[in-house]
Symmetry: C2
DNA sequence: TTGTACGCGTTATCAG
DNA sequence: CTGATAACGCGTACAA
């Protein structure tokens, strides 16, 4: 900065502040102080309604602040107080409607408590997950809400942070290896109910096209599926279980799975699918192959795309309670953040999945 | 803070920093300085590769920094430099797939250039838009990417910021009243092509169910629709034009529009719909009413839901180029931010819409 | 080539 | 009740 600049700075502090800091339309405590012939500390205290300031000066200061629409600079506050009043979010992708619902839930709670949110996406990549978590913690967030990417096996990057005391809450796709709050849907019950529904409708050869094998939700849904079959006295056939390593991001994945199922000697008479992507893609492919639903193959699956089941009334949907999940997770995170002392007791919240079954004859 | 705390602080600065600032896993310039018996400024300059530092010290410092995985505190940098290396985004809602695509485009460019993004949603509310813009500027963002909410008529809040020099780029839903870069889809051509497609297929009574009348994209698409009809020598019938004030957020809106159309003496034989929501909802309602597409009523519309047109091959889709729009807008914004001087020449980028027509007999 | 001093906006401590 | 001062972490004009 040139000398003349420095000169100007001393003579026209307000103007120069505006230009240099690009802090649009904000005056500082210092401006108030000079305008009112007070010291900065007095102004600061007055604004924070300290007991050691007279009513008179308080009124004076707050009045002036109101009038000039003063708002404290959050960056300066962050620097001073060591906390940023913002929380970081890591999800696979916001294009997934489930996660955008979760984010809406998160925002609703965060904003209510004066917290800001910073959203990042992993696009299911482990590398990006590590990078994002790094960025976020580095931006000195006060807490982290994370749903693991499908690629993630090693969670050392999170363990370190957890040990250092960063409040973390997992949602949807969680891990056993870190002891903290977790919020999940009752995926076991979802899988169980869906499978039971098909069994009750008389189907016996029930296939399962699902997400990558390693993530928590996949395992839980599979467990529910297994339990239902077991109770019905039906053996689990590995040929009927198809995993999509990329969660159906490639149509090819689902196509392969479906082709393999259809080329079995003992073709399935029903399919239980998981995830929005996989369910809608399966539905699409069945339509493309002119396979009648549910006459030839029945279908039940998780989806947020309401369109899917309206277009095809024979598809039953298990809605995922995204918004609520976001809210609960954020509440838990705020508890951790606002607790002064370390917390040692954690809980796992299990939200109900809503199984919406629809009589396939209702609309025909 | 108690006296013992202060004592500790002086004796164990590193430990205390970690605890007080919750700045997870970061050492400061000061830590490096004391460790290496240098002054902070030397370290700072060494890290910034200043010419006035010897190669020796540089190596020493950068080595230590690497080893201890030092990263400058962005909050302190923001405070000092008056810019935060982050840009604000305002969209209606990320649940809209078009906007999540845009955001992905924005992120791809922003991250490449070392910028962070902060996403906010208006949920189509003017009040929330003003609030979000306030929050963002207040967080001292370096630039703003905004798509106006449907409710927004008065843009005084943006004019002020623009005058103060905040770089702003509008995308998708823009305004004439502010002179800056804008990135839009060629909605005129989209509307024109869609209508022509229907005309060429022999339809003559073409209705139009569309977004709120006041936003830019609605007007542009309507202009294209009008032009096509005009060229075909068909008069525009106001009864055929239906606006959805909430962009189809309520199914009822679309339902009313459709019912009104169906109860006309001269029922339309085709409909041109805009927006993902409206298109898919219309499709759903037509299905529900058992109206055959395109035999009884043909449909063409904007949608990102690939599912829609696969399930119903007679629906033609005009895809919205979201990702590219996000990229272009961000490039323009970064130009503005990185330009040292005010810019007076602005351009409006018009991206092509891809009209995907599908022969309705292809799959039957 | 390195170090000193100051300021960014805010708050906490302590002295008046 | 009010004010001076230091500090948060960083960057830089200027002195040594």
């Amino acid at each position: 900065m040139c000398y003349i600049g420095e000169m100007l700075k001393k003579q026209l502090p307000l103007l120069f502040n505006t230009l240099a800091n690009m802090n649009f339309s904000s005056i500082t405590i210092k401006d108030i102080a000079t305008a009112l012939n007070l010291s900065v500390s007095t102004v600061s205290k007055a604004l924070r309604d300290s007991y050691e300031i007279s009513e008179n000066t308080k009124k004076l200061v707050t009045g002036y602040a109101q009038e000039h629409n003063y708002r404290p600079n959050p960056i300066a506050q962050s620097l001073k107080q060591g906390r940023s009043k913002s929380i970081g979010i890591v999800v696979s992708t916001i294009e997934n409607q489930f996660f955008s619902q979760v984010i809406n839930g998160i925002e609703s709670v965060a904003y209510e408590n004066g917290f800001n949110v910073i959203i990042t996406q992993t696009h299911e990549s482990y590398e990006l997950e590590v990078k994002n978590v790094g960025h976020l913690t580095h931006r000195s967030i006060d807490g982290l809400l994370i749903s693991l990417s499908t690629e993630t096996k090693d969670i050392a990057h999170l363990k370190t942070l957890h040990k250092q005391g960063l409040p973390i809450v997992f949602f949807d796709r969680v891990t056993d290896e870190i002891d903290t709050h977790k919020v999940i849907a009752d995926n076991f019950k979802g899988g169980y109910d869906a499978t039971c529904h098909l069994l009750d409708s008389g189907y016996k050869r029930i296939a399962h096209i699902t997400s990558p094998a390693n993530i928590s939700i996949t395992k839980e849904r599979f467990a529910g599926y297994s339990k239902a079959l077991e109770e019905a006295g039906i053996a689990i056939d590995d040929d009927y279980i198809k995993y999509c390593p990329h969660g159906g991001r490639d149509i090819g994945e689902v196509e392969n799975a479906l082709n393999e199922l259809l080329s079995l000697k003992n073709k399935p008479d029903a399919i239980f699918t998981t995830s929005d992507r996989i369910t809608t893609t399966t539905l699409m492919l069945l339509n493309r192959l002119k396979i009648k639903i549910p006459q030839e193959i029945a279908l039940i699956g998780y989806t947020n795309t309401t369109l899917a089941d309206v277009l095809n009334p024979s598809l039953s949907s298990v809605y995922q309670p995204g918004f609520e999940m976001g809210q609960k997770a954020t509440q838990k995170l705020l508890e951790l953040i606002l607790a002064k002392r370390p917390v040692y007791e954690f809980e796992t919240l299990v939200l109900p999945t809503q199984l919406v079954t629809r009589d396939s004859t209702a609309r025909q």
